[in-house]
């Protein structure tokens, strides 16, 4: 039997599903680590919403240039064939549906694909959204990667989000430590499990009416 995935394992699993030649935006935090598992011969082009296509890996040492950063404000490198553009052009590229894929972290994802990842909903929280809402709805597909349970054990794949939403009906796939879920037309299908999880145990945990597509996979 396989093991549940650690964070690197989830990143590796996401990377394996990124199509050859795709244009991709990796959200800050956990999704950024996906870049490390993309083979160069896959020809994947990374977009960073602060105005660049053709972003390379994190910069180190003498490579560090404070004018060349990613959306997480970490210094990065430039690949041959890169292009720079201003913020309105960069978000037009996202909003216009030109990116094939966006990978984001989440507090919660609902069965209908709603995403909550920007605001804890706590009354004293200072709201700060950044590009989260643009990313959520901008790409042809939005993948989420997260651990299936929050620190207190409650599932983050839910019937209906209790956190404030980032986007409505925008998530099409959710990669977690214990399973991969496909979301379409209000239904949620389990396509793969890792470790001891079974579709039944996932149904019990989430309370969702999960379809079993593990055999197809």
């Amino acid at each position: 039997m396989s093991q549940p995935l650690d964070r690197d394992g989830i990143a590796r699993r996401v990377a394996a599903d990124i199509p050859q030649g795709a244009f991709v935006n990796l959200g800050i935090g956990m999704p950024t680590t996906v870049a490390g598992y993309l083979e160069p011969d896959r020809g994947v082009t990374l977009h960073t919403e602060n105005g660049m296509l053709g972003m390379g890996r994190e910069a180190s040492g003498d490579e560090i240039d404070l004018d060349l950063i990613n959306a997480g404000k970490i210094p990065v490198t430039e690949l041959p064939g890169a292009a720079y553009f201003h913020h309105a052009d960069s978000f037009a590229m996202m909003r216009g549906g030109h990116l094939d894929l966006c990978v984001l972290g989440a507090f919660q994802v609902s069965a209908s694909g709603d995403l909550a990842n920007w605001h804890t909903g706590k009354p004293d929280a200072i709201p700060a959204v950044g590009g989260a809402m643009d990313l959520a709805i901008g790409a042809k597909q939005t993948f989420v990667m997260m651990e299936l349970r929050s620190r207190d054990g409650t599932p983050k794949l839910v019937q209906r989000c209790s956190y404030p939403l980032t986007g409505v009906g925008c998530v099409s796939r959710v990669y977690t430590d214990v399973a991969v879920f496909d979301l379409a037309d209000g239904t949620v299908a389990v396509t793969e499990t890792f470790g001891p999880a079974t579709v039944d145990s996932l149904r019990e945990l989430t309370g969702l009416d999960l379809l079993d597509r593990t055999a197809v996979h």
Binding site: I28, G51, L66, R95, G130, G131
Partner: protein
């Protein structure tokens, strides 16, 4: 158009109550010297439109700490080093309008482009669209957003020519070009100034028509400490 090396001259005349756009995404493209000059200049009761709400104790963070900013319009105020903004916000001493980053950019672009309003899908169905007009067009849901303009924009570019054409540097370009077009008076700090014709006309990013004052800062301060967060 004014070309100067005198920061005081560059920011002269900004009145109390002005709306000021400030370029930069975090510290990349942040016009640090111009913000410091604005601090010295003294204008207060400002509305500031900028992606973030200041980092550490310098620049925009200091302007906020000094109580000179009445209202912030930004996408990501909270960063781990935005303590001055955080403190004033929690004390109810600064107003905040949070705008999704792409809507912020598009509203600024609309301000410069003479667009009266536009329908954007970003934010639909969220807290940030509450109370806003919505419309379904061709089966997709949109929120109506209005343009942002400013009295003054402070931006940073790599190079200007003598008619104010600008080129930028890597991801420090970010909000510069759209803010330049959306402000009545745009003040650009640049590392060098060349003669007209010294920038390839095919490679100009901001045409000089958008630029009112250029201040040459041969050796700009190093950008502040890098902070993670959007």
């Amino acid at each position: 158009m004014l070309i100067t090396e005198d920061l005081r001259e560059a920011v002269a005349g900004i009145p109390d109550g002005a709306t000021v756009m400030i370029g930069g995404f975090g510290t990349a493209g942040q016009p640090v010297e111009l913000i410091d000059a604005l601090i010295d200049q003294g204008a207060s009761e400002l509305t500031v439109i900028s992606n973030n709400a200041g980092n550490g104790d310098v620049g925009l963070a200091q302007l906020i700490a000094l109580g000179r900013v009445r209202r912030m319009v930004c996408s990501f105020p909270r960063q781990k080093d935005s303590w001055h903004f955080d403190e004033r916000y929690r004390a109810g001493r600064i107003e905040l309008e949070v705008v999704p980053q792409g809507n912020l950019a598009e509203r600024i672009r609309a301000g410069g482009a003479g667009i009266g309003a536009f329908y954007t899908p970003t934010g639909y169905g969220t807290l940030l669209a509450e109370g806003k007009e919505t419309r379904t067009i061709d089966g997709r849901d949109y929120v109506l957003e209005y343009p942002l303009t400013a009295d003054v924009a402070l931006i940073k570019a790599r190079r200007a020519d003598s008619v104010g054409n600008l080129v930028y540097r890597k991801t420090a370009r970010n909000f510069g070009p759209i803010m330049a077009a959306a402000a009545a008076t745009t003040i650009a700090q640049v590392a060098d100034v060349v003669e007209a014709g010294g920038i390839d006309p095919e490679a100009v990013v901001t045409p000089g028509i958008y630029i009112d004052r250029v201040v040459r800062i041969a050796e700009p301060a190093a950008a502040g400490e890098l902070e993670v967060g959007q």
